[in-house]
Symmetry: D3
Subunit: 230 residues, 6 copies
Amino acid sequence: MAQNDSLLFEALRGVSTDSLAGVLLKKGLSNQWVRGPMPMRLDFPRIVGRAFTMRFIPSREDVPGALAKKLLVNRDAVEAMPPGCIAVADARGTRDAATFGDIVVMRMAKRGVAGIVTDGAVRDRMGLLASRLPIWTSGITAPPPATRLMLAAWQEPIACGGVAVFPDDIIVADSDGVVVIPAGLADEVAAKGMEQERLDEWQIEQVKRGVPLSELAPMPEGNIKTTAKH
Amino acid sequence: MAQNDSLLFEALRGVSTDSLAGVLLKKGLSNQWVRGPMPMRLDFPRIVGRAFTMRFIPSREDVPGALAKKLLVNRDAVEAMPPGCIAVADARGTRDAATFGDIVVMRMAKRGVAGIVTDGAVRDRMGLLASRLPIWTSGITAPPPATRLMLAAWQEPIACGGVAVFPDDIIVADSDGVVVIPAGLADEVAAKGMEQERLDEWQIEQVKRGVPLSELAPMPEGNIKTTAKH
Amino acid sequence: MAQNDSLLFEALRGVSTDSLAGVLLKKGLSNQWVRGPMPMRLDFPRIVGRAFTMRFIPSREDVPGALAKKLLVNRDAVEAMPPGCIAVADARGTRDAATFGDIVVMRMAKRGVAGIVTDGAVRDRMGLLASRLPIWTSGITAPPPATRLMLAAWQEPIACGGVAVFPDDIIVADSDGVVVIPAGLADEVAAKGMEQERLDEWQIEQVKRGVPLSELAPMPEGNIKTTAKH
Amino acid sequence: MAQNDSLLFEALRGVSTDSLAGVLLKKGLSNQWVRGPMPMRLDFPRIVGRAFTMRFIPSREDVPGALAKKLLVNRDAVEAMPPGCIAVADARGTRDAATFGDIVVMRMAKRGVAGIVTDGAVRDRMGLLASRLPIWTSGITAPPPATRLMLAAWQEPIACGGVAVFPDDIIVADSDGVVVIPAGLADEVAAKGMEQERLDEWQIEQVKRGVPLSELAPMPEGNIKTTAKH
Amino acid sequence: MAQNDSLLFEALRGVSTDSLAGVLLKKGLSNQWVRGPMPMRLDFPRIVGRAFTMRFIPSREDVPGALAKKLLVNRDAVEAMPPGCIAVADARGTRDAATFGDIVVMRMAKRGVAGIVTDGAVRDRMGLLASRLPIWTSGITAPPPATRLMLAAWQEPIACGGVAVFPDDIIVADSDGVVVIPAGLADEVAAKGMEQERLDEWQIEQVKRGVPLSELAPMPEGNIKTTAKH
Amino acid sequence: MAQNDSLLFEALRGVSTDSLAGVLLKKGLSNQWVRGPMPMRLDFPRIVGRAFTMRFIPSREDVPGALAKKLLVNRDAVEAMPPGCIAVADARGTRDAATFGDIVVMRMAKRGVAGIVTDGAVRDRMGLLASRLPIWTSGITAPPPATRLMLAAWQEPIACGGVAVFPDDIIVADSDGVVVIPAGLADEVAAKGMEQERLDEWQIEQVKRGVPLSELAPMPEGNIKTTAKH
């Protein structure tokens, strides 16, 4: 994680996925919220990191001659993940086999992975809840990956929950789900996101005082002392 | 909320949505339970109120000339809601954009709205959980309404979760979801519902004593001292 | 149908829904193709007309006191349809009850309705196929409307197949389905659509001669003799 | 419950559904995890028991002459359930009417039923949460069974959540859902499952020490002191 | 097929599934049209017969010890079908494996089966189209039944396309799909259905003459010369 | 297309997808039939070829800075396709934007592509029907690809209709849909498939003579004169 990322991520940790989705929409990006994955625990902190993409396809039973070479699996991918990344799995919404299980997840935690996002499912709910690794998933299941899925590749452009994700896109995940920020737009989106947070705070303040919504805009400039929420 | 409503609502707060769905079925109404919305917190009280209906349609990108006049939005609708009403949103099950966000919800709370039911999603989960307004929703999301939805009208007949809802129908929502009582049947349904609650209590009592279910009916009249659960 | 419409419609009858969807996308309108409805016969001509919108909600069993007044039904709506309009029904994708049956459709034909689009189903397949009225539907069914649907209103903004439709929007339907053109953009979209048709023709001509696609753009201006297909 | 079952069940209570799904897959059984049902509480213990199957079909309105004889209902089935069994309901994923309600569930608890699995829904969430009976369900609802479902038979082969279940198959349910073990394979699967649990524990131990996953297999024999988790 | 059936079926062959669905709805039966199956050819005649029900469940891989006894398969069931019956398969909507293939269907034709209804799929489209047996199916597929399905039983109450079907219910299928008439109501429904056909014909006649729909009801008695369509 | 392929393909053109799915299942491959795509015309010949895979992901609106480099599009991929290949598109079942349109398809035909399989949709139905290129598709639509899809890569392992497809797998498509044969198994599967065809022909012959299915197996060896159907 570069120095640059460190400042950017610090800023983004103060911006909700709601505000980010709003800012991205204003820039014409209407499809950046990932359908499906929700946090396994509501007390996870908001996480920010660069996407390490993983692409799964349906499994094919293991038959001599069916495939020329051995496929790589999760445990191979894990060793390629840089610290601080967020693993984003394109599992095509498969809910009846896991994309990740507890042993792989524990290794990911050891390697400093910042979090996991899958549009499929994970298994060993209690083990994962006990671990400290923040996970956003579309479901819980018991069967191992090979039941339905094969890892086809990593660090390729993928889809996750109906959204395009490119390697190194910025992922932000909190209690409202997961938003994907194109790498080239990250600084601008972070800046606009912090502004939006300040506006929201001011608006909530006003509403608490009984001001009707029609009288809320625009926020008076200069008067704002608030800083982005953390 | 008329005096009349006050007594009716008091009665209905003692009747579960289960009992109401059963009573409505006996009257030939088989489609009064709303598919999708569940309470954001399990400790919400049962809520009762008249429906303030809101109708959403898919959004159309903002292009000069596309529409003759500005569309009304949530913040306009909120000011038209009478105290004690329950806002019921027909969002066509849209889960990738919110029907309500925290600022609008806070204003609704200020205005005395009794609760929210949406067959779509809401955003800012933590803010909404922190607020005191009881919300039944089909999902949590980050994107703002305009990403996918436009408010087309309010106080029209709508569908919510596959159920017809007319303005001023009686809405009852608890931990088993949301039931819609046609306005003209409310008194009768409330009365029958209270009876059903008494019967359920007596049956549970008998089952606890080890009586098989085949010996449960009919409930002996006159012996019942129990009153409706609260 | 005004004189104006007559020229506009004549132009649009020479533009495919494909070209229209492409032109609308270039203008930033990405959601104008209606999901579901397909023509009942592949030999229907392309039809063009202004939308007469109809809005259905789930039916509620007929119980005394449930509703204050009689609901209007299809046969009431039909008499309000102007000649040349296209009836567009928001049936919420309901496939197990019809939005239209043969008797109502025959009356619509008598009144000069230009066509029907429904995101639900129609019934009496053979009767409808025999009739001359062009119909785009998402399914065929046997049960009458009242089994699942009530007509809530007409000439209101609706959704049809996931697309917003306002009364008097321009509907174009052909063998690739149905496209909705916002009324205020119709002239511009028609003009651009005719250009697109010419470009397509030129490109197909080039491809037939063996030119690779990479060498196709731009179309040489001045050389084009072709006119829009009819 | 035979003596035999008692030992088998004791063993299986130490094996997670994850390990069982993995063992079954290695034996060529790839479709033994039930799609849909999840535990109503995360603190339920893992339950093990023989399947008492129940088969539901869509309800048909009660019309004189429609059916020759009275259908049996839940309360009849309950009295046929042996102590220690797990009731497994094939509700075809119906979520808008309950397969079980609180009174029937309380009677099942009285009769010593070990748990409930339904691919449909249950009603009276708070009552069921308060009861001690462990329930795996695909949803919560308010309407009673008759709204959409009739009990067609019990102790027949059924499907539950896309999986074949035969009477007396072994059901294991925990926080990752429900796995079905064919009766004839139970001893072998239990033995292999206990081995798998030991392997998992050893692997997790190694991962905690920082061993990469590629160096994990095989587990060194003889060194293992650990016993199956409980 | 009893003498009685012969007259009843003759009458029902003159009544469309539309009219039957309408008549059944008036008697309070709102769920008798089967979702999914459509005729493989539009020129099939309307077919009428008693239901021979078949019930499929998901397949379980063939493992020694998994099942105590050999399961019966389609070819066993076929020999139990009486001439004139309509085979109705509950395949739970499975579209990626066939419920019937061409060899079994050819044998069914030989045995005098009147038709097939499946809420799943069939395979060998060209062979089946070439055969004379009328088939209503939800899809076409290539894989054989065992890929996903096992025959669990026949002549039991089943669900087909979301509708309860009891052995010996009357099945009517035409170009608008399949309707199930409870055995005990067949005579009454047939009589009412013939009346409805006459009313429809009269109404269509009137509409052709330009009479608005509001003036159509009631049909003048005594003037009707028409008989049921064939 | 190698000499080898030429003989293999000739053999496979005599084997139905039904027989191939059956043979693959016997070899333990249960998931080789592609869900969704059906032929646009029923009179297409059976096609056989090696898969040229194309992988689509959801589109991202075109924003400066969002992506570092220009994405390749269909027209780039087309020039990389070898004569005789079958283009297989992983469109994730997207039905509201095309994977292919008429101009690209015409160029594919020019280049000698043998056919197209997409689990998404195509556009310009009439143009494609008029072309000679056989197409298996899950739907027809009007919007161009960019509305919802971007081409991410070609000749990578993909999923199509829930089935893994590797570059150079053998694709066979006929009126029952599309089957994928792993490249390494092709010769064996072709041989077994031809046997199966002969068995089917013999069985149908027997059934036509009135032999019950129980007496059909095994086929008497030596007596068979028939050859594979073409």
